[in-house]
């Protein structure tokens, strides 16, 4: 049989392999080199300089704050998005006419670019904007150090929860009906069914959504750029925001070091998280 010839499969995968190697893997490997190099717009040559970039970033008080902001932001985004999406999914699980209307309404923000979402909410949350005039207060939602990060995380959740909701609905619909029915027969009320049957069976969707929202938010940039630009002070200055600033000022090595920090954070988050949540899927 022609199809059993092993070498013959290579041409089918080759274009994808080449593109991923050149435009994803190669930059990834180069980043490790650039992060520890003296690459700037002021000097032509790129030389190895060890931890110099990291030291400079620490001296300028940029690194620790950016890491703290990024990690906090990722946790906030994950928590808000999954709470909203799971609640919506439980309410809209059944496929019916009215549920489809609500599903498409809540999906709408997903179609809006994160940048545009940022501008829309910057307008809504302005000191003299609609939210404040409805509440009858004058709170600078995006200008207040204590609330800015939470508000930006909320905007990110607003943008993505439509999509995450659909993944939860898919997870809910994959739970065998017989299981829920037998739980009901055994005398389990709605709350017990939710806790004992639905949540354990929902574990794959939960794994996926928690990982995706956390990892996605570690690379945050667009919403922050459109709302606070990193402010007030440095309260929303996530790693990618500092990276862009360093890049703009010509400090390419430092920018690479910041990008590499994001990668390390993603690895440090994703590996144990996926491992732990997978184990929960089996035992839960």
């Amino acid at each position: 049989m022609v199809m059993r010839n092993r070498a013959a499969w290579l041409p089918w995968a080759l274009p994808a392999i080449v593109l991923v190697t050149v435009f994803f893997v190669a930059p990834f490997l180069l980043n490790v080199r650039f992060a520890f190099s003296s690459w700037t717009s002021f000097r032509a040559e790129i030389t190895w300089n060890g931890l110099e970039n990291v030291r400079t970033l620490i001296d300028q008080d940029l690194l620790a704050n950016a890491v703290t902001v990024t990690v906090l932001y990722a946790i906030l985004c994950m928590a808000i998005q999954n709470t909203v999406s799971l609640s919506l999914a439980l309410a809209l699980q059944r496929t019916s006419g009215i549920n489809t209307v609500f599903r498409s309404a809540f999906f709408l923000p997903t179609l809006i670019s994160p940048l545009a979402a940022g501008y829309i909410w910057r307008g809504l949350l302005a000191p003299d904007g609609a939210v404040n005039s409805f509440l009858g207060i004058e709170w600078a939602w995006l200008g207040e150090p204590s609330t800015a990060l939470v508000v930006v995380a909320f905007i990110d959740a607003w943008k993505w929860s439509g999509l995450i909701t659909l993944v939860y609905i898919a997870g809910l619909n994959s739970i065998p009906k017989a299981l829920l029915e037998s739980a009901t027969v055994d005398g389990a009320g709605p709350w017990t069914r939710l806790r004992r049957v639905v949540f354990p069976m929902l574990a794959p969707a939960l794994t996926f959504n928690v990982a995706v929202t956390l990892v996605g938010a570690l690379s945050a940039y667009d919403v922050i750029a459109a709302t606070t630009g990193g402010g007030p002070g440095d309260h929303t200055r996530a790693l990618n925001v500092v990276m862009r600033q360093q890049w703009g000022q010509g400090f390419f090595g430092s920018a690479s070091a910041l990008g590499f920090t994001v990668t390390l954070l993603v690895i440090a988050t994703a590996v144990p998280l996926v491992w732990w949540l997978r184990r929960r899927e089996v035992t839960g």
Binding site: M3, R6, A7, L111, S113, V167
Partner: protein, 272 residues
């Protein structure tokens, strides 16, 4: 009774969540600058639709942005879907160690964030920096992983019989791919395609680093350049007009294909 309560709660939630933001954008994009600066939700006292949208189309670089967005989104989506499906076929069927190792790298490329700054360096070395070709190649390379990952799971779940039978009947490999594999993979490629279109159309981060000059700017980039043009405060009427026009193409496609998109995403998202 419980249903009434539930849908009342959902409606009360949908009003600030969806309706008010959309209304704010639409109504303020119809107002003159001074009135829009109040960011109120009332109807315009003076209507300035033609002026605002005229300025966005003219000075906001909207039409250039629209053409550029189409010029990069279409090739990226086509390339990722077709090359991804072809690679998924190979990864799903071949038992070669090399291909399995390559498949593992594809999986990593979904999880790990792309290294954008070395990409700029690389594109410069290849004389592809600043233009749409470099952007298309980069986005394709960085987005292939997810489609390959979803589709490989699908391929593995299919029995080989159909492909073998077609081969016995004398179909060449490309024929088997087009006639049998692509139709079988349609649900998962559709889901991947929808997510990809939203993702690429709305991309700002890659575009900011990889596309230079307003001649190459895609819609999100032209929105950013337009909004950042006014330093002190945003011209809300114009920003919102641009937001509306930038979002409109995607919303139009969504309205047409809404049923299939929602059904595809709810049913297809977890399989594979």
């Amino acid at each position: 009774m419980r249903a009434v309560l539930k849908y009342t709660a959902l409606t009360l939630f949908a009003i600030p969540w969806v309706l008010v933001p959309v209304w704010l954008v639409v109504v303020n994009s119809f107002k003159p600058a001074g009135e829009a600066a109040e960011l109120g939700l009332g109807l315009p006292r003076t209507w300035a639709i033609a002026e605002n949208y005229g300025i966005v189309l003219d000075r906001g670089g909207y039409l250039t942005g629209l053409v550029n967005s189409l010029k990069v989104t279409v090739p990226i989506v086509v390339a990722v879907v077709l090359l991804g499906a072809a690679a998924a076929w190979a990864f799903g069927r071949s038992r070669s160690r090399w291909l399995q190792a390559a498949y593992f790298v594809m999986g990593l490329s979904i999880l790990l964030p792309p290294s954008i700054i070395p990409t700029v360096y690389l594109l410069r070395a290849l004389s592809l920096d600043g233009g749409s070709l470099g952007y298309v190649l980069t986005m394709t390379g960085c987005r292939l992983g997810i489609v390959i990952f979803l589709a490989t799971g699908f391929v593995r779940a299919f029995p080989r019989d159909l492909e073998d039978a077609a081969a016995i009947d004398g179909a060449s490999r490309p024929q088997v791919f087009v006639r049998i594999l692509l139709p079988l993979l349609r649900p998962v490629l559709f889901v991947g395609g929808v997510i990809l279109i939203i993702n690429v159309w709305n991309d700002f981060f890659f575009a900011l680093f990889l596309l230079q000059g307003s001649a190459n700017a895609t819609l999100p980039l032209s929105l950013f350049q337009f909004a950042s043009g006014t330093l002190q405060s945003l011209n809300w009427n114009l920003v919102f007009a641009h937001v509306l026009l930038t979002t409109l193409p995607l919303v139009a496609v969504y309205v047409v294909a809404q049923k299939r998109v929602l059904a595809g995403l709810t049913e297809g998202a977890l399989k594979g």
